[in-house]
Point group: C2
Chain length 181, copies 2
């Protein structure tokens, strides 16, 4: 079961730097992209940035719809994550061709969340800046949620196995927890 | 021994989303900050972004010097990484008070690299945008290097143990390699 994560803690959903799936939708089109290039940018207001190549289908969708959702996949769906990162949404409906399901978001109307993910951050587009060959989409956190058993003050490192992408075909997950408190 | 990493591959040094140490210097002042909020933004030109709180000493230094260096620490220096993340450079000379040593950068003149780190990305400031309560510093990669035994096409996951910050006092490193090729 997923429970709400306060906006002030939403950045912790992506603080580890793990791979995310970004869902977007406009009119009758939707898409999912796999991204490692993202980060929190501001605490108050709660803003996050994602870098999307200008040539990508999601770049158009997010620019039109002015919203996007960051979904955090667990290591168990690595196969789907790789599929979404290696297929263009112009030719494939990734929701139909993967084992991922679209579910109604809590606050956003247009964009679906990916049901199989461990957490979500619903973002309203605050700004977009073209920087080099990518668009930097800055999203304001509207609502965030995570699996109750996997997230408290942060992801429970020993339970929430996230995906980290080192480049090319190389992936890993988190090792055991080090608590320095 | 560290060897040069081509600019086109420099983003892979930070692609995993690991914790970095950013060094900066202006006139007779230098500083080190610990950051999890960073990402590559563009492939060509090779640009990276770091988010630095407006109130931080490094924000001033980087704005004045127009350069910064991303240093990638290994898990063995977690103690120094935590020190640099919990002490202000306004009151402490972090190079003197930690076990970290400043070494001459390859290309940049003002900013030192942190010798004990596994790799470095020397950046010239391309732009800075204030977004919410942080400054987004966009750096163009001028030169990058990494330990020869730890980096090839990407970090060797089984040898290069990076630091991932889940929030608060919670840290971990990378688990074993998954190669999907």
């Amino acid at each position: 079961m997923k429970i709400e994560v306060p906006k002030s803690k939403a950045s912790r959903l992506v603080n580890p730097g793990e791979v995310i799936l970004v869902s977007s939708a406009y009119k009758d089109k939707s898409n999912i992209i796999t991204l490692a290039w993202h980060m929190p940018i501001s605490k108050d207001p709660a803003l996050l940035g994602i870098a999307v190549a200008k040539s990508h289908f999601s770049y158009e969708l997010i620019k039109e719809s002015e919203e996007f959702i960051i979904n955090i996949p667990g290591f168990d769906i690595l196969k789907e994550v790789i599929f979404c990162g290696s297929t263009t949404g112009r030719k494939a409906d990734k929701f139909k061709e993967s084992n991922l399901s679209a579910a109604k978001a809590e606050r956003l109307i247009k964009t679906p969340v990916i049901k199989e993910c461990l957490g979500h951050i619903e973002c309203s587009l605050s700004d977009v800046k073209d920087i080099g060959d990518h668009g930097l989409f800055i999203g304001e956190v509207i609502y965030a949620a995570a699996e109750k058993d996997l997230f408290g003050e942060a992801w429970h490192i020993d339970k929430a196995k996230l995906i980290f992408h080192f480049g090319g075909a190389l992936f890993t997950t988190n090792a055991e927890k080090i608590d320095i408190s």
